[in-house]
Symmetry: C2
Subunit: 322 residues, 2 copies
């Protein structure tokens, strides 16, 4: 018995995520009607995952659902915004009920964690492709890419590179090490740093989420701020499972260029450093200083006092050979 | 010289549509920051167009850009909302600059007409697929699908069926009649009825946009309102070019089941009819009475006092054979 679009929406997406008082009308009409909290601005982002590009064919459906929301939550995190509502455009080759149930559960679990309500969207037939649009709120100034200055300290959250190794494991490009499951989970179920982004508004001068590789994304933040960055190779935070899987050299290379991390890269004025380190202890909040913003454009990585060269800086969708 | 994702966004989408004072931060950071007008609710919709499903391969890029926005504007029109901001997720097999320029111009022209600012989105590599998310505002109650009652008069705007014939022409499934260009334009560049939807809030009891065929969409509105509808075959508005292209019988069949019209189907309480017809003259606003809501579920089409049978009621993405 084939599932109509109407049944599909009804069954899997009618009450996905949390119920929120500020949703006057959710899934089921031509559009959703939402109440914005007075005095707050709306923060909006939209990201797409395409099968075979952003995740390998055969990826668990719950991971696709989780990641489609996570990459958007990560964008809000980078602004310091509080997530509220999501819309989902799901293009599917066929209405596979088992896949849909798993997809919806992956999406819903993360939505509940961040108190997000799914309020609308579209289901269409075609090559597997998921676009999520996320809406959140912010009071006071947002955290921008453009606020950095030369001399600001540069930080990254988490241990970048894990997701890239997880993807390689998922694709069978890397022999499975002892802690393969940890690395695979970092790719399949990334953690958007929403709480960190929210508190960083009081301390950081600029922020970006690391989706295409730390080197490239730090470069984008630097460029938006009209400056560059020096990254200290020795200070790059790499996880023990990653080092065990690929060795210390390749681990740091993946930390710089891997992509899919959904960590936050941020800068802090020298005058705010002590307050940051005291009030948001790095070991509790999970971030590491990796360098300093500089006046010269570009991002340099320094090892034993020598600049290092990298073949590519991050993922670029439309540059051949990347 | 290949175009990077960054260059692509910069070149074609940085200032697409109008500049709006309520956009604090648009394209270029991790998310957009927007100011909601006090006392108004936010109205949000999202629709996807997939190549080979929602438009034929080789469709003019300006039409793809226009339609991606139009189908979303049509959703806001059906709620009676005023459009403000859009986000665009564009998945492309390759960064073809001529295609992109044309796509952006089709999108931008319609955006300017409705004072919409493009504030964010995503560009990714993959099979051609466009998702637009639209945000608008509304003060006072929105126009819902669920407000109809038995006895309400049923209306439709424009001349449905034209777009279906236009698509058939575009695909070479129909020999080109004298006025082929008019019909093709109705498919390629549909007119979202934003102004009509906005004024209808004062008169209509329920409203839906006709995207999947009048019969099916009137049925959805009826079902949401807990009733059905009788449509008078003789009253169906069909355009002269459509009748010339396919004959009077097939014209009315396409008007009922064709899809891609982006007209509004709405109901009006008997007590509001005179006010509607006086204050919004049908010949000026371009709408026609086609029937009446009834207590019995389903939609019946009556011709010369006899009920008619139809093979299918509208486009269903996940029902085989439709």
């Amino acid at each position: 018995m084939p599932l109509s679009e109407f049944d599909l929406i009804e069954r899997y997406f009618r009450s996905c995520g949390v119920r929120r008082e500020d949703v006057e009308l959710g899934v089921g009409d031509d559009a959703a009607v939402l109440e914005c909290p007075p005095g707050q601005r709306l923060v909006a982002a939209m990201d797409t995952l395409v099968e075979g590009v952003h995740f390998p064919r055969g990826c668990p459906a719950s991971s696709v659902g989780h990641r489609a929301l996570a990459v958007n939550l990560s964008d809000l995190a980078a602004m310091g915004a509080r997530p509220a509502w999501a819309l989902l455009a799901l293009t599917l080759p066929e209405a596979d009920e088992a896949w849909l149930a798993e997809f919806a559960s992956g999406f819903a679990e993360l939505a509940r964690l961040h108190e997000v309500a799914l309020v609308g969207g579209d289901t269409t037939r075609g090559p597997l492709c998921v676009t999520v649009q996320i809406l959140g709120h912010i009071s006071g100034p947002a955290l921008l890419r453009s606020g950095g200055q030369p001399g600001d300290a540069l930080f990254v959250s988490g241990t970048p590179g894990d997701a890239a190794a997880g993807l390689a494991l998922e694709q069978g490009r890397l022999p499975a090490p002892a802690q393969a499951e940890y690395l695979r989970e970092r790719f399949l179920y990334p953690t958007p740093r929403v709480a960190l982004g929210s508190v960083l508004r009081e301390y950081a001068s600029a922020c970006i989420d690391v989706s295409d590789g730390l080197l490239g994304d730090a470069g984008k933040m630097g460029a938006a701020s009209g400056c560059g960055a020096d990254i200290a190779y020795a200070d790059l935070p790499v996880s023990q499972p990653l080092v065990e899987a690929v060795g210390p050299e390749r681990a740091r290379e993946l930390a710089l260029t891997g992509g899919d991390d959904y960590e936050l890269c941020f800068s802090v004025r020298p005058g705010n450093l002590e307050r940051l380190l005291t009030q948001l202890p790095p070991q509790r909040w999970g971030y590491t200083r990796i360098g300093t913003l500089r006046a010269t454009p570009g991002v340099g990585v320094v090892r034993d006092g020598e600049p290092m060269a990298f073949a590519h800086a991050g993922y670029e969708h439309f540059v051949r050979g990347s």
